[in-house]
């Protein structure tokens, strides 16, 4: 315990300070120290994508990042992204299209989808699948997930086009 070191970082908009062991991954830190259990742990080696979070607004694996590495940075978990309503439309689309069964992969899927939707425009289904290549779902398959993301991208793009049209 003598090797615990102080870590200060911003999580979901709030500064948090804790003592952590250097080997603690960001995923374990979020789940165990901050009780943010929306970040799921699957493979713990960067293959399954269940643990994705945003660091400086980009998806990264919380299992492939140490909490000490994230010190001084800005982390947003699925709790933060969804509670500020950034993905409310996509969450509805997931619900409508039954894009989840057990839900284990869903937080990671939503974080990847967040980055896809942030780019704007309507990506092709191939591009969506490519962007989800690091997210494993073992129950529904990917068709419904791709549908939900595509639907949301089209709806956002449509809203955007209407807003920019002259009255």
């Amino acid at each position: 315990m003598s090797d615990m070191i102080p870590v200060v970082l911003n999580v979901n908009g709030a500064n948090v300070a804790r003592l952590v062991e250097p080997r603690t991954t960001l995923a374990d830190f979020l789940r165990e120290d901050l009780q943010l259990t929306g970040t799921h742990l699957g493979c713990e080696m960067g293959a399954c994508g269940a643990c994705l979070v945003l660091i400086e607004d980009r998806p990264v694996h919380a299992c492939l990042t140490l909490a000490v590495q994230a010190a001084g940075g800005r982390v947003e978990t699925i709790e933060g992204i969804t509670e500020r309503g950034a993905l409310a439309d996509l969450q509805d689309a997931f619900h409508q299209r039954n894009a989840l069964q057990c839900g284990y992969c869903t937080p990671g899927m939503l974080v990847s989808a967040y980055a896809i939707l942030q780019r704007g425009g309507v990506p092709s289904r191939e591009e969506i699948r490519d962007a989800l290549s690091g997210n494993y779902c073992r129950c529904t398959g990917y068709e419904a997930i791709v549908d939900a993301i595509e639907t949301t991208a089209k709806a956002r793009d449509g809203a955007c086009t209407r807003e920019t049209q002259p009255a």
Binding site: E21, P22, R23, G49, C63, L64, Q69, A115, R129, G134
Partner: protein, 287 residues
């Protein structure tokens, strides 16, 4: 799947990084993006006593033109290969290969320095840098030195880096207007380790004849492999069908793929030949 305990030290200069490594008496590892190192720690394939975090060293950052080469700082992340206008202009082969590197989230954290220093024979960037005849800027207790790509990659996960040395940057000769380049890879699924990958760059004269070539393969041996016979075969001719067939025939003497249970050596040779054909066709078509 949890790493053994280690100490952690975040440094802000190269001198501090080298000193921290020396103080650990060899029992230390540098960490930047950590996208290969952290799984390796979790699997306990490695268990250094100290992790030295080099991700906050400004001298290892940035992309800039220096003379006729592009200097890419070791901390440049894979995702930036797709976004940086200097890379798009002067080292487009890196940008072409970047979408094949792992998955988007890994590309947001992994660094080119980490990829090169690890020297995974299945990795894209080491192979691209070999094809581009890059040079590697290494810093250590004895000062800085430059190593040519041909001398840098030595064997399986083995490079010219000595213990305690740090890769500071890669220097890529700037692409000329007469250059053509292409990258392609065959993998079971997108983002998986490539069964075979091919990085190719040729210079063409006004008549469309090849003046010089850099062709390299991934996953065909213990290290990124340059296809020197292919390069010699191509030089002086046009990139027509006959030249491509000759190049494919020459490839056999350039590579010696290992036998493994899933991918027999004969299969990998075959895939490499097919991939070389496709890649060269693309170069010819773009001319």
């Amino acid at each position: 799947m949890k790493a053994r305990a280690f100490k952690y030290e975040r440094v802000s200069t190269i001198a501090q990084a080298l000193a921290a490594h020396a103080a650990a008496d060899g029992d230390a590892a540098f960490i930047a993006g950590g996208q290969s190192l952290i799984p390796s720690l979790a699997l306990r394939l490695q268990a250094p006593g100290v992790l030295i975090d080099i991700a906050h060293i400004d001298a290892l950052r940035g992309v800039s033109v220096e003379g006729d080469a592009l200097r890419i700082g070791a901390l440049t992340r894979h995702a930036e290969m797709l976004e940086n206008p200097l890379i798009a202009r002067h080292a487009p082969l890196l940008a072409l290969a970047a979408p094949f590197v792992a998955h988007p989230a890994i590309r947001n954290r992994g660094t080119i320095g980490g990829s090169v220093a690890l020297a995974d024979p299945a990795a894209e960037f080491p192979t691209v840098l070999l094809a581009l005849r890059a040079r590697f800027e290494i810093v250590g207790a004895g000062g800085a030195r430059m190593v040519e790509a041909d001398d840098f990659f030595r064997d399986l996960f083995e490079t010219a880096l000595e213990p305690g040395e740090l890769l500071a940057a890669v220097h890529v000769p700037c692409a000329r207007d007469t250059d053509r380049c292409a990258f392609d890879e065959l993998a079971v699924r997108r983002g998986d380790y490539g069964l075979v990958g091919c990085a190719a760059r040729v210079g063409l004269d006004s008549a469309g004849r090849v003046t010089d070539a850099g062709i390299a393969f991934l996953s065909v041996g213990p290290k990124p492999t340059r296809a020197t016979s292919v390069e010699r075969t191509l030089i002086g001719g046009a990139l027509d069908e006959a030249a491509i067939r000759s190049a494919q025939a020459a490839l056999d003497s350039d590579i010696d793929p290992p036998e493994d249970d899933r991918t027999p050596a004969t299969m990998r040779r075959r895939l490499a030949r097919v991939l070389l054909g496709r890649t060269l066709q693309r170069l010819g078509g773009a001319a």
